[in-house]
């Protein structure tokens, strides 16, 4: 019974934590630009406000796809993040849940893309093609870097990766050179997956007016924004737990439960700051060709090397 309550609590937790992290990100971004910035709970206000707005479906849109996709995208990304949090909280193992999480992560961004192109807006179409190129660019190194972790641990379960770190009493990235390279590749892929500034070519507000999101407003936009911040949370949480599981520093075996959850979330916030907030403050936006080139020339060789090394047992 208690487990069930815990499980039910995970969904609102994912919702609030991701929006809160988004708010902290905005605040820090603003402070680094010498601005006041919005209050930390601004994304929550935005969410509530957007839900009270009118639902507009453009006449050129195929209305079913246009309206159905936002809830599915939000549900998919929340499900992905909840699986991670539930594993941490309860210490349960589901075989192959890493694959499911990655699938849900990719799904929410594909759904945004398809929803945008169903709007019939030329900016949506351009956004679709840009997002497509970006997906090809970062998805492969992202998968390869996680693959090298599961090759190392010999399991596709999230729980097993963490317990391997607890057993070894060390973060995986610090224990093996192959995983250190994989972690680097993964962290390089995070800004692209999160569409933070140097790689936000598919949204690019001054070029294609938020691309796929151009025709969305009201509740639909709120759901897509939620989906985006939740998948950012998933990404940073994966980085924090798969490569740098924080509780290994203290040793001991009280490694699951509430403390583990909080420690992981704090680490996730640090990774959010380093991989999303900092790049979007200090860089200008790249063009789609330049971003694509960067991922295929830097991230892909890195992650391939990591996978090869971990097969070799380093």
């Amino acid at each position: 019974m208690e487990t069930l309550i815990d499980l039910l609590l995970v969904f609102p937790l994912v919702f609030t934590v991701s929006l809160l992290f988004d708010g902290i990100d905005r605040k820090l971004h603003a402070r680094m630009q010498r601005r006041m910035g919005p209050p930390i709970i601004q994304p929550l206000y935005d969410f509530v406000k957007l839900f009270s707005k009118e639902r507009i479906v453009p006449t050129t849109a195929s209305s079913v796809i246009f309206t159905v996709l936002p809830p599915i995208a939000a549900a998919a990304s929340i499900l992905g993040a909840s699986m991670l949090l539930a594993s941490l909280l309860l210490g349960v193992s589901i075989g192959g849940d890493l694959i499911v999480v990655l699938y849900l992560l990719a799904m929410s961004s594909v759904l945004v893309m398809v929803g945008g192109s169903s709007s019939g807006n030329p900016y949506g179409a351009v956004g679709f093609s840009r997002k497509m190129s970006m997906l090809i660019a970062y998805e492969v190194p992202l998968l390869l870097s996680i693959l090298s972790v599961s090759l190392k641990v010999n399991s596709l379960s999230y729980y097993d990766v963490i317990s391997a770190q607890i057993m070894a009493k060390s973060m995986l990235a610090l224990a093996f050179p192959s995983i250190a390279i994989a972690a680097t590749a993964f962290l390089i892929c995070v800004p692209a997956a999160a569409e933070a500034v140097p790689f936000d070519v598919s949204e690019a507000k001054t070029e294609i007016v938020y691309g796929p999101l151009v025709e969305y407003g009201g509740p639909f936009l709120a759901l897509f924004k939620l989906a985006k911040s939740v998948s950012n949370l998933t990404l940073t949480l994966l980085a924090a737990t798969l490569f740098f599981y924080p509780l290994t520093v203290f040793g001991g075996d009280s490694s699951f439960g509430l403390i583990a959850l909080i420690a992981c979330l704090v680490f996730a916030l640090i990774f959010w700051f380093l991989t999303i907030t900092v790049p979007r403050t200090i860089f200008a936006r790249l063009k789609v060709g330049q971003a694509f080139k960067f991922y295929w020339l830097v991230a892909l060789p890195l992650s391939t090397a990591a996978a090869l090394l971990s097969v070799l047992g380093l």
């Binding site: 010498r34 351009v126 093609s129 500034v197 200090i282 200008a284 063009k287």
Partner: protein, 409 residues
């Protein structure tokens, strides 16, 4: 498809082409202009412009106001280069009326002129940073620009429309305290501008600006582009050097014209960055050499206005965006027969097409911003037939014919 003669016609449709309507409302555009861009994937194949969304009819208004009222109206043609407009207009009137403003007034005009150039260039650099997605630089640049606006407020009482010029001089004087203020601000400014210059050499910024939107020297000369747009393409023109006015007749040798040969967006940006340093030096020179004496002619402005005879002249100034030309024809009864304003954006906007064709969609905002367009200044009346979509630019002959008709009624 079957045409009206019953013959079957084959129409070629190219599905790979996409027509993107950019504007009149778009986050990259600060003012309404409609760009109709034809693209294949990311490459731009053709560009078409539609101006006229913010036409205000100031030239027509000029014909039924008196000369002093017009002084404040021409100031409102542009919010960024308001002082350039009034200076240009006042110079024309002073030439027709044979009024010689005192030396100190000319120096003060030049001072505001150069401050305005600094604030306009900082404005554009900020917009440029925003277009490439570098919000931090955008915020930083505009933060610095704020200090120049504060100076304007201290000197003239207004941040945007300074109302500094009047017939035969200027309206506000500088005292020692203000001079010290200006000097202190300039010192800070110089440091900050160095900082911005370093920022613009950031690799990600350079990647977006270099080799984009190239305008050859030949095309630049053919299209008669002016200002930093021309100077970025290796055409060395500057009204301050070529036809000195105000205090530039004395200060002609105190600054150099910044010319870059490359002709891409980065060259145009760099020209503006380096001009900031020139302007700061020039202001320091102005403050050093500021002559003593009155700031305007003794006589009452209204009386001066009544004295201006019938006549016509052309006046030129170097506004921050380039050469600004006024044709003024007075009627001898404190009014105007005709006012013709040629803002720098009118020739510059034509250069956008050769710049844009061959670029990517991602380059559109950057290239459009690089000429520093001021659409409201450039708008001419266009009549659009809503049913057929046919557009017609209204020329002066058409207006004259219309006017004659209404007079007959």
């Amino acid at each position: 498809m079957v045409d009206k003669h019953g013959e079957i016609k084959e129409i070629e449709v190219d599905y790979t082409r996409l027509r993107i309507p950019l504007g009149p409302v778009h986050p990259a555009l600060k003012e309404p202009v409609s760009l109709r861009v034809t693209v294949r994937r990311e490459e731009i194949l053709d560009v078409d412009f539609v101006l006229g969304h913010v036409h205000r009819g100031i030239e027509a208004l000029a014909e039924n106001r008196n000369l002093i009222q017009m002084l404040y109206l021409v100031e409102r043609i542009c919010g960024i280069c308001s002082h350039s407009h009034t200076t240009c207009y006042v110079q024309a009137l002073e030439e027709i009326g044979g009024i010689t403003p005192p030396e100190r007034a000319l120096y003060l005009r030049t001072l505001i002129f150069e401050l305005e150039r600094i604030h306009s260039h900082l404005f554009l650099l900020g917009v440029m940073a925003y277009e490439v997605g570098f919000d931090t630089l955008f915020m930083f640049t505009w933060h610095i620009r704020e200090s120049v606006l504060d100076l304007f407020e201290k000197i003239t009482g207004n941040r945007v429309h300074h109302s500094m010029n009047t017939l035969g001089g200027v309206r506000w004087d500088l005292d020692q305290r203000l001079i010290d203020d200006v000097k202190a601000t300039l010192k800070d400014l110089q440091k900050s501008v160095h900082c911005i210059y370093d920022f613009f050499q950031d690799k990600t910024v350079e990647k977006r600006l270099c080799d984009v939107g190239i305008l050859d020297k030949g095309i630049a000369q053919k299209l008669c582009v002016v200002g930093p747009t021309a100077r970025g393409s290796g055409v060395s023109i500057d009204v301050r050097k070529d036809h000195p006015y105000a205090a530039y007749t004395h200060l002609k040798d105190c600054f150099s014209v910044v010319v870059k040969e490359k002709g891409d967006v980065y060259a145009r940006t760099e020209v503006r960055l380096l001009e900031l340093f020139e302007s700061i030096n020039l202001i320091q020179k102005v403050l050093e050499e500021l002559p003593n004496g009155p700031i305007r002619v003794e006589e009452n402005v209204i009386r001066l206005m009544r004295r201006i005879p019938e006549g016509e002249t052309i006046s030129l100034v170097e506004a921050p965006r380039g050469e600004l030309l006024y044709f003024v024809k007075t009627n001898g009864k404190d009014g105007l027969w005709r006012l013709k304003v040629r803002t720098p954006t009118i020739p510059n906007v034509l250069a956008l097409k050769p710049m844009l064709v061959g670029c990517e969609i991602a380059d559109i905002p950057v290239v459009v911003a690089s000429i520093d367009p001021c659409m409201a200044c450039a708008n001419r009346l266009a009549v659009v037939n809503a049913i057929t979509g046919e557009e017609k630019i209204v020329d002066i002959d058409f207006l004259r014919r219309r006017r004659r008709k209404t007079w007959k009624l």
